[in-house]
Amino acid sequence: MTFTRRDTLVMGLGATVAAMLPLRATASTEDAIAAFTGGASVGTGGITLTAPEIAENGNTVPISVSAPGATAIMVLAAGNPNPDVGTFNFGPLAGSHEASTRIRLAGTQDVIAVAKLADGSFVQTSAEIKVTIGGCGG
């Protein structure tokens, strides 16, 4: 494969822009969603993701997901080396269709939650979480 000067310039610009932006969704995030939904279309609404705007440390970021009537909620961190975070499957004795946990984020990025509802449809939501990089690595 050969690159023209213009290709190289465009790629260089792309790299600069990428370096300035938060970590964004990659193909593997799309793949993970497709694997969960079986390729079905994904709507919005009826799902809540609660997370801090800013996390003091990416090692332990508290999040909660809620989707009334969901049978399962998958959480993805689009900017992590591997976007999978976990999937909550709710059983017959679930008291609500919500759960909280603590997750690792490699940097500022979108966290995505996708719920499978009882009728087999899917909804999703996302939130950007800023991860601060401190001056005192200590």
Binding site: N59, T60, V61, S64, A77, N80, P81, N82, D84, V85, G86, T87, F88, N89, F90, G91, P92, L93, A94, G95, S96, E98, A99, S100, T101, R102, I103, R104, L105
Partner: protein, 108 residues
């Protein structure tokens, strides 16, 4: 891992049909497989990959866990308590070990 220790918080009593909140915490490194040791060799992944909570044999929640779950995994969720009985909490380690904890709840 000998230092793995589950902690579970479940109310001691509930009224029949009540929804209660459960919290669980377990000490575990959750080695992600992304880190390297001081010689630059990758540290192999060793995480808890699944957590389940059942009550009297019926499932409350079944969580598939990935390396992005933090060290010392924490979960908070709700369960319906139809009758007196026993919650069973189970954590599955990549190394094949299974850690369990049980909590009884009375109706009152």
């Amino acid at each position: 891992m000998s230092d793995v220790k589950p902690r579970v918080r479940v109310p001691k009593t509930a009224s029949a049909g009540e929804t209660i909140t459960i919290k669980t915490l377990i000490s575990h490194r959750m080695e992600s497989g992304q880190r390297k040791d001081s010689d630059g060799n990758p540290i192999p992944r060793q995480i808890i990959n699944r957590f389940t909570c059942d009550f009297n044999g019926e499932n409350v929640i079944d969580v598939k866990m990935e390396p992005a779950i933090s060290t010392n995994p924490y979960f908070e969720f709700q369960a319906v308590v139809p009758a007196a009985g026993e919650f069973v909490f189970t954590w599955y380690d990549d190394n094949g070990e299974v850690y369990t904890e049980t909590k009884s709840i009375a109706i009152g």
